[in-house]
C-alpha cells in the first residue's frame, strides 16, 4: 500500500506536536520513522490510525484522499498498528484482546472457538507459546507487548505501523518480529517502524523519514544514504559528539554498599549473591522473565525474602518498604513500568519529581511551591525534559520524557544506592547517551548502582561487572572489559549454561 501524508499539523494545548510533517511510504518497503523523544513520531502514528484528527494536512492511500473519523476507519482501510503504549483490556483473555476489533459472531453471539483459533494462528506467527485463555492482566510487560504485536498482525493489514515494538523485547523476540516484517514486505505490505534502536533500524528498514520538532527533515530517503552518525545528526539538528565513558576505578576491598548473600524469595529466586560497591555499576542482565524485576522488588520489601541476607553498607538490613529503603538506607528504585509504577500520569511533572523530596522540603509539614519548583526546574534542565511547563501533566509527555521524569524523581531523592530497571526503554539515542552519561556520572560521584537492563549494548557500555540471571537464579558474573563482541558472547554462553554449571 502506498501511503502519503502531507503537511500534517497537530497542536496540543501548549505544544505543536506536528508542524507540517510529511511521510511517504512506498509499497513493499520498511520505512523507518526516526526522531528524538517528543519529535512527534507517536503523534504521527496516531493520526495515521485515526486516533487523533490532524488540525491541518491531508492523507492519501494509494492515491485516494482519506479522512479517518476514528480508529475503526483506519482498521477498515487495512492499517494495523502497535502503539507505543500497551492498549489491552486487562480483564480479557489474550485471544479476545487480539480479536477485539472484529469479534467473530453469529447473530451477535460471540464464537469463542473461532476467536481462540484465530488468535492461536496469530500467536503462532510469532512463535508465542501463550495460552490464549490467559487474562492479559496476568502477563508480564514483554508478553503483553507480544500480544499487541499479534493483535496488529491479526488485522489483515496492508500497512503496519510499529511504534517502538521492541522496546521491551529481547533480541530473539525482536529478530522473530523482523523476520515476519520482511516476509510481509515481500507480499506487497508496507511497514512503518518507529524505533530508537538504530542497529535494528539499519538491519531492517529500506527508507527513512526523520522528524525534528514536528517537521520532516529527511523525507523518504533510502536508508543506505546515511550512517548511524548522520542520522543522529539529523535527529538532533547539529553534530553530536560520540559518547566515551571512562572506566571507573573501584577499590577492590571497599565495603559493598549493597550486598545480597544467598537470597531466596517468595517468588522463587534461589540463593542469589551479589554485591555493588560505592561508585560501581553492576549490570544485571537476563532474558525477559528471568526474575530481575522481582529480585529488585523483593530487595525493597515488596516481596518476601525467605532466606539469605541483605546488607547495606556492611550492616544487615531489613527493608520493609520503599519509604524505609529511601529514608533509612538511602536506596532508590526506578521501576521499569513507568506508566503503572513510575509515574502519576494525572499529576504535574513538578509533583512527580518532587514526591520523593517533600519530606526534605517541608517546613512544619507545609510545602512551598517555590522550593519545589526550583528543585524540579533543576532536574528538568539536567535531563532535558521537554514539556510546556513543569505544571504539565506527566501523562501528556512523550514516552521518553515520561521515562526522564521517572528517573528525575530518584535523582532528586539523593540516594546512595540506586536500583534502575530498564532505564532507556523507548528513549532516543541522544537522550540515551545523556542518560548513560548521567548514570556513569552518578557512579563517579560515589553512588552504587544496580542496573537492570535487557539492552546488552547498554550493559556493556555502562557496567563494571555483569551479573547474569536466568530463571530466578544467578548464572554467573563477569568483569566487563567493554569489548562488546567478547562480552556479548560470554553473556550468551552464561545464559545458556545450566545454573549448576555456572561458577
Amino acid at each position: 500500500m502506498k501511503l502519503s501524508a502531507q503537511g500534517l499539523v497537530k497542536v496540543f494545548p501548549g505544544v505543536r506536536a506536528l508542524d507540517g510533517a510529511t511521510l511517504e511510504v512506498r509499497p513493499g518497503s520498511v520505512h523507518a520513522l526516526l526522531g528524538e523523544n517528543g519529535a512527534g513520531k507517536s503523534t504521527l502514528v496516531k493520526i495515521l490510525t485515526g486516533v487523533y484528527r490532524p488540525d491541518d494536512g491531508h492523507i492519501s492511500i494509494d492515491g485516494a484522499d482519506v479522512a479517518f473519523t476514528g480508529p475503526l476507519d483506519a482498521l477498515r482501510a487495512g492499517i494495523g498498528v502497535v502503539h507505543q503504549e500497551r492498549n489491552l483490556v486487562p480483564a480479557f483473555t489474550v485471544a479476545e484482546n487480539i480479536m477485539l476489533h472484529r469479534l467473530p459472531n453469529r447473530l451477535g453471539l460471540v464464537r469463542r472457538r473461532r476467536i481462540r483459533a484465530e488468535a492461536r494462528r496469530c500467536l503462532d506467527l510469532l512463535d508465542l507459546d501463550l495460552d490464549p485463555d490467559t487474562p492479559v492482566g496476568e502477563l508480564s510487560v514483554a508478553q503483553a507487548q507480544l500480544v499487541e504485536i499479534a493483535k496488529a498482525l491479526s488485522v489483515d493489514s496492508r500497512l503496519l505501523l510499529l511504534d517502538e515494538p521492541t522496546a521491551s523485547l529481547t533480541g530473539d523476540e525482536a529478530d522473530r518480529l523482523y523476520a515476519i516484517v520482511r516476509t510481509l514486505t515481500t507480499t506487497g505490505h508496507s511497514v512503518v517502524l518507529v524505533s530508537h534502536k538504530l542497529e535494528e533500524v539499519f538491519a531492517v528498514a529500506d527508507t527513512v523519514t526523520v522528524l525534528r520538532d514536528g517537521r520532516s527533515v529527511a523525507e523518504a530517503r533510502p536508508l543506505a544514504d546515511y550512517t548511524r552518525d548522520t542520522i543522529v545528526d539529523l535527529m538532533v539538528g547539529r553534530a553530536h559528539a560520540a559518547l566515551t565513558l571512562g572506566t571507573r576505578r573501584v577499590a577492590p576491598d571497599a565495603t559493598p554498599a549493597l550486598e545480597l548473600r544467598g537470597v531466596s524469595t517468595d517468588r522463587g529466586h534461589r540463593d542469589i549473591s551479589l554485591a555493588v560497591a560505592p561508585g560501581e555499576i553492576l549490570g544485571l542482565y537476563g532474558l525477559v522473565g528471568a526474575g530481575r524485576t522481582e529480585l529488585a522488588k523483593a530487595l525493597l520489601g515488596l516481596d518476601r525474602i525467605t532466606s539469605g541476607e541483605v546488607r547495606v553498607k556492611g550492616a544487615p538490613a531489613r527493608i520493609r518498604s520503599v519509604g524505609e529503603a529511601l529514608r533509612r538506607y538511602r536506596v532508590g528504585y526506578v521501576p521499569e513500568n513507568r506508566k503503572e509504577e513510575g509515574l502519576f500520569l494525572e499529576q504535574t511533572i513538578a509533583r512527580n519529581v518532587g514526591v520523593t523530596v517533600w519530606r526534605r522540603l517541608a517546613r512544619l509539614g507545609l510545602l512551598r511551591d517555590r522550593a519545589e519548583r526550583d528543585l524540579v526546574a533543576e532536574y528538568v534542565d539536567k535531563l532535558g525534559i521537554r514539556a510546556a511547563s513543569p505544571r504539565q501533566l506527566a501523562g501528556r509527555l512523550s514516552g521518553g520524557n515520561q521515562q526522564k521524569v521517572s528517573l528525575a524523581k530518584w535523582l532528586a531523592a539523593d540516594c546512595d544506592i540506586l536500583v534502575i530497571d530498564e532505564p532507556t526503554v523507548g528513549i532516543d539515542v541522544r537522550t540515551k547517551a545523556a542518560f548513560h552519561e548521567l548514570i556513569a556520572g552518578l557512579a563517579e560521584e560515589g553512588m552504587a548502582i544496580l542496573l537492570i537492563s535487557s539492552d546488552l549494548p547498554e550493559v556493556v557500555t555502562l557496567a563494571d561487572r555483569i551479573a547474569v540471571i536466568g530463571d530466578f537464579a544467578l548464572r554467573g558474573e563477569l568483569v566487563n572489559d567493554h569489548d562488546y563482541d567478547r562480552m556479548s558472547q560470554a553473556v550468551i554462553r552464561l545464559i545458556h549454561a545450566t545454573p549448576k554449571a555456572a561458577a
Partner: protein, 329 residues
C-alpha cells in the same frame, strides 16, 4: 519461548474453584443457610418460610444486576431505586386508571424503564457530565414523577392475575424468583457471549484500547444505561407481582442495596468487571440476615450492627484468603 513462562496451571479444576472470587461468598452463603436452618429447627426449610425467603430475593437480585451493568463501564446509576418505583407506579396506574390489561401494562413498564435508562445514557454521552451527577439529577426528576402518579396514596388490586403469579410456585420455588434467575442468566450470557456485551466490558476495562479496536464507548455507555433501566423496569414488574400494592415509597430501599450486592459480589467500581453470580450470592446473604432477624426476634439495631460486623468480617476473611493463595503461588 522463554523458559520462564510456564504458568503452573497444573493444580487444575479444584484449585481454580477455590481461587474463584465467588468461593468465599458461596461458603458464607451455604454456612449461613445451614446454620440458620439448624438454629430455627428446620423452620427455614418449611414451605412458607422458604417461599418468602426466595420471593423477596428476586428484586434485590435484579436491582443488583441493574447497578452492575453500569458499574461494568465504570459508572454509577443513582436512579435505579426511584426508577423501579416509578415504573411500578406507572404500571399500576395504567392498569387501574387506564384499564389496560396486565400484559400490556407490564410491557409498558419495562419499556418505560428502558427509555429512562436510555435518556440517562444519552445525557451522559451528550453532556459529558459525570454519570454520578447526571443520574443524581434524573433520580430527583424521576422521584418527582413517581410521586406525581398517585401522590402518597397506595394502588391496590390492579391485577389479580399478576399478583397470583407473584405468589405462584414452580419446581418448588416461587415463580418470581425463577424469573429473577432467568434474568440473571440472561445478563450473564449477555456479558459472556454477545459482541455487544464484550464491547461494553472492553469499554469499561480500558476505554482507550476499546476505542482503538473500533469499539464505540459512547454506544457502550448508552447501552449500559438502557439495560440498567430495563432491569429496573423488570424489578418494578416483579414488585407489582410480589406485593399486590404499590405506592410512591416503592424503591426507596433499593439504592444502597443496588450497590451493595454487586460490590460485595466482587464488581470493581473502576469498571471492566462483572460478577453475575457474585451479585446474586451477595443478595442472598443480605436476605439471610433479614430472615434471621424475623426468626430470632432481633431488634433492628442489633441486626444492623450484626450485618455490618458480618460484612466487615467477610471482607477480612476474603482478604486473608487472597493473601494466603497469593503467597502460596
Amino acid at each position: 519461548m522463554t523458559a520462564a513462562v510456564a504458568p503452573s496451571r497444573a493444580g487444575g479444576g479444584a484449585r481454580r474453584i477455590v481461587r474463584a472470587p465467588e468461593f468465599t461468598l458461596v461458603c458464607l452463603a451455604l454456612t449461613g443457610f445451614v446454620a440458620l436452618s439448624i438454629a430455627t429447627h428446620g423452620n427455614l426449610l418449611q414451605g412458607g418460610t422458604l417461599g418468602a425467603f426466595f420471593r423477596f430475593l428476586a428484586v434485590p437480585i435484579v436491582i443488583g444486576l441493574s447497578q452492575m451493568v453500569v458499574l461494568a463501564i465504570g459508572q454509577m446509576n443513582l436512579s435505579v431505586g426511584v426508577l423501579t418505583g416509578f415504573c411500578a407506579m406507572a404500571g399500576a396506574w395504567l392498569m387501574i386508571a387506564q384499564g389496560w390489561p396486565a400484559p400490556v401494562a407490564v410491557t409498558a413498564s419495562l419499556l418505560l424503564g428502558a427509555v429512562v435508562g436510555a435518556v440517562n445514557g444519552l445525557l451522559v454521552v451528550l453532556t459529558r457530565i459525570n454519570a454520578f451527577i447526571v443520574t443524581l439529577a434524573t433520580m430527583t426528576i424521576v422521584d418527582g414523577l413517581r410521586y406525581g402518579v398517585h401522590g402518597p396514596d397506595t394502588f391496590q388490586g390492579y391485577s389479580p392475575g399478576l399478583v397470583d403469579l407473584g405468589r405462584a410456585a414452580a419446581l418448588g420455588l416461587p415463580v418470581i424468583f425463577l424469573i429473577a434467575v432467568v434474568v440473571a442468566v440472561a445478563v450473564g450470557l449477555f456479558f459472556a457471549r454477545t459482541v455487544a456485551g464484550r464491547h461494553l466490558l472492553a469499554s469499561g476495562g480500558n476505554p482507550f484500547s476499546a476505542r482503538l479496536s473500533g469499539v464505540s464507548n459512547d454506544r457502550s455507555i448508552v447501552l449500559a444505561h438502557t439495560i440498567s433501566g430495563l432491569l429496573a423496569g423488570v424489578a418494578a414488574v416483579l414488585t407489582l407481582a410480589l406485593s399486590g400494592s404499590v405506592n410512591a415509597s416503592v424503591g426507596d430501599d433499593l439504592l444502597l442495596r443496588s450497590f451493595a450486592a454487586p460490590i460485595i459480589g466482587g464488581v470493581a467500581l473502576a469498571g471492566g468487571v462483572v460478577a453475575v453470580f457474585g451479585t446474586c450470592l451477595a443478595a442472598f446473604l443480605v436476605r439471610l440476615v433479614d430472615v434471621a432477624q424475623a426468626q430470632f426476634n432481633l431488634g433492628q439495631s442489633w441486626v444492623d450492627l450484626i450485618v455490618g460486623a458480618v460484612v466487615l468480617g467477610a471482607v477480612l476473611v476474603g482478604a486473608v484468603r487472597q493473601k494466603l493463595t497469593r503467597s502460596r503461588k
